[in-house]
C-alpha cells in the first residue's frame, strides 16, 4: 500500500513538473511550482525526513514562490 501511494506521489511530482514546464503563463508556473514543492514535502515525510519537509514547506511554499511572484509581477507574465 505504501508503495502505491509512493508511486502516485512520484507520478504527481513528475506531472506537476511537466505542467510547470509546459505552461506559458509564468505566474501559473510559479503557482504550480509551489504545488510541486508541496508534493516534494509529502515525499519527504514518506522518506522519514520531517525536518526537510518542514523546510521545504516554509521555503518552497512560502519564500521561493513569493520571490517568483514578485519578480514575475515586476517583469512580465507571458513567456514568449
Amino acid at each position: 500500500m505504501n508503495w502505491a501511494l509512493n508511486l502516485l506521489l512520484l507520478l504527481f511530482l513528475v506531472t506537476t513538473a511537466a505542467v510547470a514546464i509546459r505552461l506559458r503563463d509564468l505566474l501559473a508556473v510559479a503557482i504550480v511550482f509551489s504545488a510541486y514543492s508541496l508534493m516534494m514535502a509529502i515525499l519527504w515525510t514518506q522518506l522519514r525526513a520531517p525536518d526537510l519537509a518542514l523546510t521545504e514547506a516554509a521555503v518552497g511554499a512560502g519564500v521561493t514562490t513569493v520571490l517568483f511572484v514578485l519578480t514575475i509581477f515586476k517583469t512580465t507574465r507571458r513567456e514568449d
Binding site: 509512493n6 508511486l7 512520484l10 511530482l13 513528475v14 513538473a17 511537466a18 510547470a20 514546464i21 509564468l26 508556473v29 510559479a30 511550482f33 510541486y36 514543492s37 516534494m40 515525499l43 519527504w44 522518506l47 522519514r48 525526513a49 520531517p50 525536518d51 526537510l52 523546510t55 521545504e56 521555503v59 519564500v63 521561493t64 520571490l67 517568483f68 514578485l70 519578480t71 514575475i72 515586476k74 517583469t75 512580465t76 513567456e79 514568449d80
Partner: protein
C-alpha cells in the same frame, strides 16, 4: 539493469528524470524565469536523490524516542546535507531573480534570444 530493479529504485529513476527535465528546461526554454524554474526542479531532484539514498525499509525518522531502535532509523546525514542544500538553492534563486529584475529593467524583456540579440550597445 532490469526492470524490477528499476522499479525498486523508483525514486532514483524519478529523480534522474526530473533532473533531465530541469536540464531540458534550462537549456531550451528562452524565458529566463522558466529557466530558473527548471533550475529549481533540478535542485529538488538532486535533493530527492540524496535523501532516497538514506532511506531504510520500514525506517523511522531519526528522532530519538521511546520504542524506536537506532537500527531502525533512516540515515540522518543526507537530511542534514539537504537542509544545507535547500538553503543554497534558495540563495541561488534569490540572486538569479534579482538579476532577472535588473535585466528586465535594462533590456525590457526576459527572452534570452532577444537579450542576446540586443546585447551589443
Amino acid at each position: 539493469m532490469n526492470f524490477s530493479r528499476m522499479f525498486h529504485n523508483l525514486n532514483y529513476v524519478v529523480s534522474a528524470l526530473l533532473f533531465l527535465m530541469g536540464l531540458y528546461t534550462v537549456v531550451v526554454k528562452p524565458n529566463l524565469i522558466k529557466k530558473l524554474i527548471g533550475l529549481n526542479i533540478m535542485e529538488t531532484s538532486v535533493f530527492l536523490f540524496i535523501v532516497s539514498i538514506g532511506m531504510v525499509e520500514g525506517g523511522e525518522a531519526p528522532i530519538v524516542a521511546e520504542g524506536v531502535k537506532s537500527s531502525q532509523m533512516v540515515n540522518p546525514i543526507p537530511q542534514a546535507l539537504i537542509l544545507t542544500g535547500i538553503v543554497v538553492a534558495v540563495s541561488t534563486t534569490a540572486v538569479a531573480l534579482s538579476l532577472c529584475l535588473k535585466i528586465h529593467e535594462r533590456y525590457g524583456t526576459l527572452n534570452a534570444a532577444e537579450i542576446l540579440g540586443r546585447g551589443e550597445p
